[in-house]
């Protein structure tokens, strides 16, 4: 199926992704707000049509959650996707979604992204095995400071090419500084509005729009370890 759909239009992709089930009971501690079909389609369409980073690629999806980015990446031709999450309930939802979409080239594993590559990333068998890493990581602004950066570091160690991620626009300066210190190229591809739509109880207003940057990082030097 993947092959014919490579040139799928963004709107069409978005409408397929409407059928991805979301978290039954999202966990605040893990910042489990689902990537909306609209945002997922925008991200994936850009990776595919502007950068050709999906078709026939090995892709990792960190904090895979319900799997919307993995499913969309497969629809746009990814050859193999590995989705990783620390939460077994999310993985169960994701597994059901993959069965529903009959996606056989996506694999899942339960692991903590922060210790995924162990103390010495270079000695990990995962090091640089993926072409593209996609993720919607925790923003790291709610009692879990630094986790956004930990996700980026793990992603750059997994990837031999490009990393796509979402970050709060308010943290942009910080992210750009980090990228410069890691000697990787970074560009802000789009500013998106994220509608958290009462995902968690502390969102008192009916829906809360937050500004999010869609960014792309890419290695300048092959084999660079962070």
């Amino acid at each position: 199926m993947a092959r014919e759909l490579k040139c799928m239009k963004r709107k069409e992709l978005e409408s397929y992704l409407q059928d991805v089930e979301v978290f039954e009971n999202p966990k605040i501690k893990l910042e489990q707000y689902p990537t909306t079909p609209h945002i997922a389609a925008c991200m994936l369409h850009t990776m595919s049509s502007t950068y050709d980073d999906l078709a026939d690629k090995c892709v990792a999806d960190l904090g895979v959650g319900c799997g919307i980015l993995s499913i969309g990446a497969t629809m746009l031709g990814a050859g193999y996707v590995l989705g990783i999450d620390v939460d077994e309930d999310a993985l169960e939802t994701c597994y059901n979604n993959l069965c529903e979409f009959e996606m056989n080239s996506v694999d899942l594993m339960a692991s903590d992204v922060r210790c995924l590559l162990g103390p010495d990333p270079k000695s990990s068998q995962l090091f640089k095995k993926f072409d593209t890493v996609v993720m919607n990581p925790p923003f790291g602004t709610k009692h879990n400071e630094g986790i956004d950066i930990a996700f980026l570091q793990a992603a750059l160690n997994l990837s031999n090419n490009a990393v796509y991620s979402l970050h709060k626009t308010s943290t942009r300066e910080h992210i750009l500084k980090k990228a410069a210190s890691w000697e990787v190229d970074v560009s802000v591809l789009a500013e998106l509005r994220y509608d958290l739509a009462n995902t968690f109880k502390f969102h008192k207003k009916k829906s809360v729009d937050i500004e999010v940057d869609f960014i792309r990082l890419s290695h300048r030097k092959a084999g660079k370890c962070l």
Binding site: D56, Y80, N104, G118
Partner: protein, 126 residues
């Protein structure tokens, strides 16, 4: 869990384990899932695969027939072999079973095809 995924898993995330590779597979249920055959993708992926570990994993899961212990130079021209490798890498799925660390004996369960590599806090190395 596909054998391609298994090929990237190490237990050296555990404190005190130095290499932890490859993890031994103890399969309980194995299935074949259809994945489109793409020879160019198989060849490119193979350049990153540890062949002895893949071979061992294929034998452990019962799909080692026809896979040589060492991969010759001209495997790219051997369509039949490439199809077998495609099968071993992407279609063989361990649905239930466990992975065993070759050094510490620590077991990682596989449920619904998902290996659980989560560690207890005291197991995590620095």
């Amino acid at each position: 869990m596909k054998l391609l995924t298994h090929n990237m898993l190490t237990s050296n995330i555990i404190k005190g384990v130095t290499k932890g590779f490859p993890l031994k597979i103890v399969p309980v249920q194995v299935e074949i899932k259809d994945v489109d055959y793409n020879p160019a993708f198989v060849v490119r992926t193979l350049s990153k695969v540890d062949w002895p570990a893949l071979h061992q994993a294929a034998v452990e899961t019962g799909f080692g027939d026809g896979l040589p212990e060492t991969l010759g130079e001209n495997f790219q021209q051997d369509e039949e072999l490439l199809k077998k490798i495609h099968n071993a890498l992407l279609q063989v799925e361990v649905i239930q079973g466990e992975l065993v660390c070759p050094e510490s004996g620590r077991k990682f369960p596989i449920t619904n095809g998902i290996p659980n590599m989560l560690l207890q806090e005291h197991e995590v190395g620095q």
